[in-house]
């Protein structure tokens, strides 16, 4: 089992979602985050106060997948999130020791891709 964490542009988030659904990824969790990378800074002014905004809005995907799903999932994200400009984001693949489906208490493989034969967890 792996946990894929992807940081993407908010304006690509819906495309990424779509691409993941096409790649048969059915479970995922999304949150709004802010990131700093190589992007040019925004300058904002509020009355006398001028500020450099170091952080840009991003969307974070968190997707638990079984090992053989990692490749297509990463592929789907890479393809759908890319614009080619600085700031497209990163993907991290983390090892997972165990996954539980809360509704049923099922673990691991069964917990993320129901119907798929159980594989050895890591």
């Amino acid at each position: 089992m792996k946990l894929i964490v992807a940081i993407v542009r908010p304006e690509r988030a819906n495309e990424v979602l779509e691409a993941l659904f096409m790649a048969e990824v059915r479970g995922l969790t999304v949150s709004r985050v802010q990131g700093h990378g190589g992007e040019t800074e925004r300058v904002e002014t509020y009355r006398g106060t001028t500020v450099k905004m170091e952080l840009q809005d991003k969307v974070r995907f968190e997707i638990g997948v079984s090992d053989h799903f990692v490749e297509p999932t990463v592929r789907a994200i890479l393809d759908s999130a890319r614009t080619g400009d600085v700031g497209d984001g990163k993907i991290f693949v983390l090892p997972v020791e165990r996954v539980y489906r809360i509704r049923t208490g099922e673990t691991d493989q069964m917990a993320v891709t129901p119907g798929w034969p159980e594989e050895e967890s890591r």
Binding site: N14, V43, E44, T45, T49, T50, K52, M53, E54
Partner: protein, 436 residues
């Protein structure tokens, strides 16, 4: 200047003071109505498109527009005797101080320009927008107001427009249509869901619009008369009817009445009753409000399936609403209630006159608007860049965000405590520079 005689009517003056303030409030109300409907990253830009009109169009009207609209001129355009507020003082016009009449009319010019912005939100550069509404007021609004209200040819023809169904709403909607076509759709239009970021703001805007609209319609009586009372009550009943019909349509079609729908219904009802307010019976107003609901509703449904990115549906709300109201004024107007006779009172011709009025204004407004934007575009690109549109116009046009939290915001001028180290609080106890 304080002329000595005759005295203005005190009650009429009070009512027009109140009405002017009320109509002025409509423009910030519109800012919230429109601002709530766009995405958070464009909220301020959308609001500023309305709020800035208070300043830009306000001044343009006072210095130039008023004279061209209400100066004694030809049937086509007013005179120049009021340019720069020359000859506009505290002498009586009608029964109120002339200056107050000028200000009251200014509020109409301001909101008409602001209404257009609903069609072009989230994609127009702000500087060119300011230039556009200044020019538009002089080139489009002013003649239209003159034709119908300022002694011009449409008024002479017998067009009935109590408070601006044609001059304000059809006019703005036609300009909105032209502007939406010239500016082209937003980059995500039709592909992404572009949702309202704050529906309570939409409700707040609609509520304040309704509140202000009592000044708009009942103020158009220009005094504390029975007709003001009639226009007031009609302005209360028509949107009530529109809102109820709108909810019923929604409940019938989808099983759910929406808040955005109710807010929209209120505005459509207000628009529809505007040309009729002082001419028709309360039951007539209810009918007008009720009839306008399905027409606007289905126009919105249809429009959002087309390539026309009239983003906040100015055409469906103000165009369809205004035209419906203008035509139905020709149907329901009755001499007993203050209008000349309409269709029901036996004068079928009035409907035709109404139609001419709105077609003429719509045609002129659409054409002139398209040309004006193209003209402004020659000087400065009107459309924001794809990138700016993606980032949002608040940051790119105004250098601000509607909602900030300050994380990751680094002071560019750390002012006092020079090094941005973690200074102890003692550093703040240094002697202060105090202004003289």
């Amino acid at each position: 200047m304080i002329a000595q005689s005759p005295e203005p009517s005190a009650p009429d003056t009070v009512w027009m003071l109140v009405s002017t303030a009320l109509v002025l409030l409509m423009t910030p109300a519109l800012a919230f109505f429109y601002g709530g409907l766009v995405r958070a990253k464009n909220a301020l830009n959308t609001m500023m498109m309305s709020v800035a009109s208070l300043g830009i169009v306000g001044l343009v009207w006072a210095l130039v527009g008023y004279s061209l609209a209400f100066g004694r001129g030809t049937g086509v355009i007013g005179g120049l005797e009021f340019l720069g507020l020359e000859n506009v003082g505290l002498e009586v016009k009608g029964s109120i101080p002339h200056l107050l009449f000028m200000a009251y009319q200014a509020t109409f010019a301001i909101i008409t320009a602001a209404l257009i912005s609903g069609a072009i939100v989230e994609r127009m550069r702000f500087g060119p927008y300011l230039a556009f509404i200044a020019l538009w007021t002089v080139v489009v609004y002013t003649p239209a107001a003159h034709w119908v209200w300022g002694g011009g040819w449409l008024g002479s023809l017998g067009v009935l427009d109590y408070a601006g169904g044609t001059v304000v709403h059809v006019n703005a909607a036609s300009a909105a249509l032209a502007a939406a076509l010239v500016l082209r759709p937003r980059r995500d239009y039709g592909r992404q869901a572009l949702l309202p970021h704050n529906v309570p703001y939409v409700l707040l805007g609609a509520a304040l619009l309704w509140f202000g609209w009592f000044g708009f319609n009942a103020g158009s009586a220009l005094g504390a008369t029975r007709t003001a009372a009639l226009a007031f009550v009609n302005t209360f009943l028509a949107p009530a009817a529109t809102m109820v019909v709108w909810m019923l349509i929604e409940l019938a079609r989808t099983g759910r009445a929406t808040a955005v729908g109710v807010a929209t219904g209120i505005v459509v009802g207000l628009v529809a009753v505007t040309p009729a307010a002082g001419f028709v019976s309360p039951l007539g107003a209810i009918a007008i409000g009720g009839i306008a609901a399905p027409l606007s509703y289905f126009t919105i449904l249809w429009r959002s399936r087309t390539a026309l990115d009239d983003s906040l549906d100015v055409v469906a709300a103000h165009g369809v609403g205004g035209a419906t109201g203008a035509l139905l004024t020709g149907v329901f107007a009755r001499p007993e209630w203050g209008g000349s006779a309409g269709l029901i009172a036996g004068n079928a011709r009035q409907v035709g006159v109404q139609l001419i009025g709105l077609l003429v204004v719509a045609a002129y407004s659409g054409l002139a608007t398209a040309l004006l934007i193209k003209l402004v575009n020659v000087v400065a690109r009107v459309r924001s860049s794809q990138r700016d549109e993606a980032v949002g116009l608040d940051v790119t046009q105004h250098g601000e965000e509607a909602y900030t939290r300050g994380e990751g915001a680094v002071l560019v001028m750390p002012s006092i405590s020079a090094p941005a180290t973690r200074s102890t609080d003692e550093s703040m106890r240094a002697p202060l520079e105090v202004p003289a």
